[in-house]
Symmetry: C4
Subunit: 373 residues, 4 copies
């Protein structure tokens, strides 16, 4: 829907998770006869939950635990675990920083150089637990570090930035990462993003990526809207990228690129809506940072929080809700959408009569004018 | 109105009670010449107020009191009165639970088995007072308990769940409740729901139900929006189900199925709007939990609050406003829509010039962009 | 704009003062060359400000003061001044009532019978000051008291209720007030309302009224939205009744019925918007209750606050801003739209290039999606 | 988009900064290869940041500092620096005024006459620092003071009021300022405004102005919405005036009049959106009042705050964030859009793939129904 903002400018109406909801249909189903499984490349997962490569969410230990619970944990390969031999004391320091000192001190903490040997060691630790191994780099460090990562052995390679485009313009003496060539030559399936629009996602799909992350810093810890004026509400972003998936499948004679919602997923209700809008899986930050085992210890932050000259996020307190197993599989002892994510997703699908995730992407959606019973 | 959320997803614009209001017309009327009566099957009621089968609202005593005041009280047959000989002490314990312990302890309290003899005894108590007798079961316990209920004697049989569909898919060894067969064989009129859409309501009407409950956990004590991502704003839900009533009347050669709004009715203004949207009667939770006689003693909760693994509601404090008689028939000593429900409904009808509930369903409605004088 | 709420119900999109604003044009003007004068029947006023017949706003003294400042004060002839010889002590008691006792005690205070001799005396007091004399009755007491009022001598006769319709249905033994006959036989110009829709206003115009009050309990002290579900946002209501004025002028060969916005006018900005929507004058409650001389002494209430069985308003604290003269004509020492109403209106007209009120009704209006700079 | 408010009134849907956001595209860019330069007349600036002529923002010292940092500081020539020899003590007094005394005392402070010699001295001080010299007068004092200003020497002459129109109607004995004649005869480029609509801006462009200020008292310190009912949301206002720029360029055979957003710019995100809507540069109040060097010392006010009889703004506390250099060029130690304005603008342009400001005016815009992730 095109809107005239003024004589010289038009805009498009877009929607976030809070604007939409799903509605029951004429059929219902027992939660027990519902499947939440999905697969990407050779890897099968019982649940579509991917832990985001953020230091407050994924340690090697939580990556293992999430893998054992049927999901996927992605380790941030530019974070504390690859900069520090013993990151526990650093994590503790971050938790205890006063609010007005957090940005500056975290900037210092993250200026410690990345140790390639730690990349190798951390990934090995996950592999030993016999769960799928996934690590993430930012686009501008991928060329520098990818060989270390590949040699260490990953099952899924994640390239994650605020916006990753297939056409990056730079005046550095070394040319920017050629994603298409990079992915083609790599033996490992690549998940890449964020992309927030149909066009940018379609271009990423054409690079050969196995999955595309949808989002643009929409999480609880991000302030890109105030700092950059950029905002990509998730319901529209996911539905647009799902449209790119469909069109790319047509132009590629059937290659299915997975759409992974990444950002702004604050509750089980948001997870449900993400899939209803077309996501195949969800990358979770805030909701998993609330696990007892989460390395953030009740605090949560992304890389934006310690950017060199333009931080675009904060270290935020998200609290601790339950052990990871309970948070994912229940039973929930709270009723706010923060626990039993798996049970909530299954029940939503059951209540609306769908039996698997792909079907559930067709569930009916409504928009409401504002918060009302 | 269809809205494009993004390339691969469309949604429908829907409305809740807060989004709409009724407007006066050119004619006015004295409140004294207005009738709020309705009938379902052989039963006539002076007011369209039905007390919801929730333990914080309906005890045998309040069911009797509401019946004597011209309404209908529906007893929850899976609640404290059929699990405990003396539920008063249990009610007191629930009232005094600290917030962080409520979910877990209520789950234990409600794990006490249902005693069929108590079903018989409680319904007999209501019958002795010579008011209409109504009891409610959830869909998945209906087959197990309905004979006890029918033998105990009910005038109206209520089957109430979050979503009740005419086509439930299950992999249990015993097949799911066949609503159509069940209702056909039962001698008692059945009210069934919730249904939140045209299609699901139409299917329920075709089972032979005398009334359909409209709603999906929209009440003050529900958190399905955060947990399941499901939301069925009531103004649209009622107007859709009223459309199903009209179409079903056509296809059935004139059978009129009653539409009963159930959920999200927090004030007399909401009751007025529910009928304006097409409801024949309203099932009330929160507003009646504020009666001095209410068993919740100022607290209110639904079955979602003590669900085994995925609670989707809370025990909430609603306070106490007035004795039941004053709350229903006035005089009101407060001006917030919490008292003299009957007087408020009559005055709304009078002010807009309508003389009975069926006519009043045609009153003009407005939508306002946001809260403003 | 017709909106589908659901299958069986449509609604109209409406707007309140908060939803709209006026915008400058290409021409500007000095505030000094702007006129805010208007006339109704034989009476000329320098400003379009009419003080509402509410006990917290208009005493005989403030009616005189407002008249001397170029406006009109309408005395409530069913209020404290016509029930009590010395209402000052009663006013003081109301001011000091604790919140939870206010409704009940005010109901008692206002159950004191009206003394016709006090009607005569109060109106005489205003007349002696040689300002226009105006008094208000509610529709259902008009027949009983109008002769007293007419004999006492009023220049403008106001009949004011929540909704006044030209077709009232009643089953009282005595028939309802026949407005058309009443107005025809009366020698005094009549202002009547509230009317909130095109049709109801058109019918009132056809009774021969000189002015129509637009509104339905939209003021700060009203809670009709919560209690009755009724809401008539003012921007739309005024624009609709202005449409009735235009159509009635056509069908009556040129009779111009004045449109007076009544309700929800909380600031000078709202007054400006009311006239921009088509009002010829504004009836003010809250804003004048903030005058130092206001009998409410910083408190404000309408008749809804002490209704017998269904109060639909509260006694609210509005505070005291400035002496009446400063409040109307400035200088303002606050910048929140509560003072220098006359100056603000003049400046708005000047800034948008209009020279009189009638022209200013054509000023451009905008709607904004939500509060934003 | 025309909206029917009611039968006799239509309105236009408009948008503010909070309603819109920009979205990434398929291309990205390094922030280093982005230019934020612009030029007006013979003057080149590295950044589009213009400090507003407000006493809490621009002193001769901060005008110099901003000029040295690549922006432009405009001195208020009717403010404290031209009324007082030593305004520092007056600034200190204003900072320390209690809230309820501020309006009255500031009115007294600003009643001190303007000293033309101080105009000359203050402008000379800026000129000595070899940065562009700009001073502002209000329209109604321009005739009286402009010769002093021109003789003192300014590079850019700013005429700034709430609304400046090319057709002002006055009944003063002396005729109003003839803008066209004035600008034609003046040797110095003139920036004039505020204009909030297409038509008023087009008329100002036809006077020969080099730049037009877009806005109408939309800043943090303004209350024109409550007092005057006037509101010109900035996204629409800028896009409309950008439309006037395009149409005027056509009718004038290519004269490009600069569009400068003035008001309601509270963060770097708002600056980004202003340019996205079509602005060539932005005039900043609140965001620069937060500099350590700002003369307001953490407080901010405009001329509306001390108006003679109708103040339409307040002295507001905005706090202190960082030294001016850090606030403009970073590094930012906060993530709320209040620091590193230049870096944020560059990064927004880079993230969406644009290389200069003029191109960036074409970036895609979205509207979101309400605040949501």
């Amino acid at each position: 829907m095109e809107i005239e903002i003024g004589r010289a400018k038009r805009a498009r109406q877009v929607y976030g998770f809070d604007d939409v909801a799903i509605v029951p249909n004429r059929r219902t189903r027992d939660p027990e006869v519902v499947s939440t499984a999905w697969r990407i490349d050779a890897f099968h997962f019982d649940t579509p939950f991917i832990a985001a490569p953020m230091d407050s969410v994924v340690s090697p230990q939580t990556a293992i635990a999430i893998g054992q619970l049927g999901g996927l944990g992605v380790l941030n390969l530019e974070g504390l675990w690859t900069r520090y031999e013993n990151p526990e004391s650093v994590l503790e320091e971050i938790r205890e920083l006063p609010a007005d000192a957090a940005t500056v001190r975290m900037r210092e903490i993250y200026s410690q150089p990345i140790n390639p040997e730690l990349i190798t060691a951390r990934l090995a630790q996950i592999r030993e637990a016999e769960v799928p191994v996934a690590g993430a780099l930012s686009p501008h460090r991928t060329q520098e570090l990818y060989e270390t990562v590949v040699n260490a052995g990953v099952d899924l390679f994640v390239i994650r930035g605020n916006t990753v485009s297939a056409e990056h313009v730079s005046n550095d003496t070394k040319p920017p990462l050629n994603l298409k060539k990079f992915i083609y030559e790599l033996d490992v399936p690549v998940i890449v993003g964020g992309a927030a629009t149909y066009t940018s996602a379609l271009h990423l799909m054409r690079t050969g990526a196995a999955g595309v992350l949808v989002g643009f810093g929409g999480g609880a810890s991000s302030t890109t809207r105030a700092t950059l004026g950029i905002h990509a509400p998730m319901a529209t972003a996911i539905a647009d990228v799902a449209g790119a998936r469909r069109d790319y499948m047509d132009e590629s004679d059937g290659r299915y690129v997975h759409v992974i919602a990444d950002g702004g997923l604050g509750s089980s209700g948001d997870i449900v809506k993400a899939i209803a809008c077309g996501a195949d899986a969800v990358m979770l930050g805030t909701v998993l940072a609330r696990a007892e085992e989460a390395p953030g210890g009740g605090w949560h932050w992304g890389q934006e929080a310690y950017h060199d000259d333009l931080p675009r996020g904060n270290r935020v307190h998200v609290g601790t809700v339950a052990p990871l197993a309970e948070l994912l599989d229940g039973p929930a002892n709270v009723a706010d959408g923060s626990a039993n994510l798996h049970g909530a997703l299954r029940r939503s699908m059951a209540t609306t009569g769908y039996s698997d995730l792909k079907e559930f992407q067709r569930v009916n959606l409504v928009v409401r004018p504002r918060s009302s019973p």
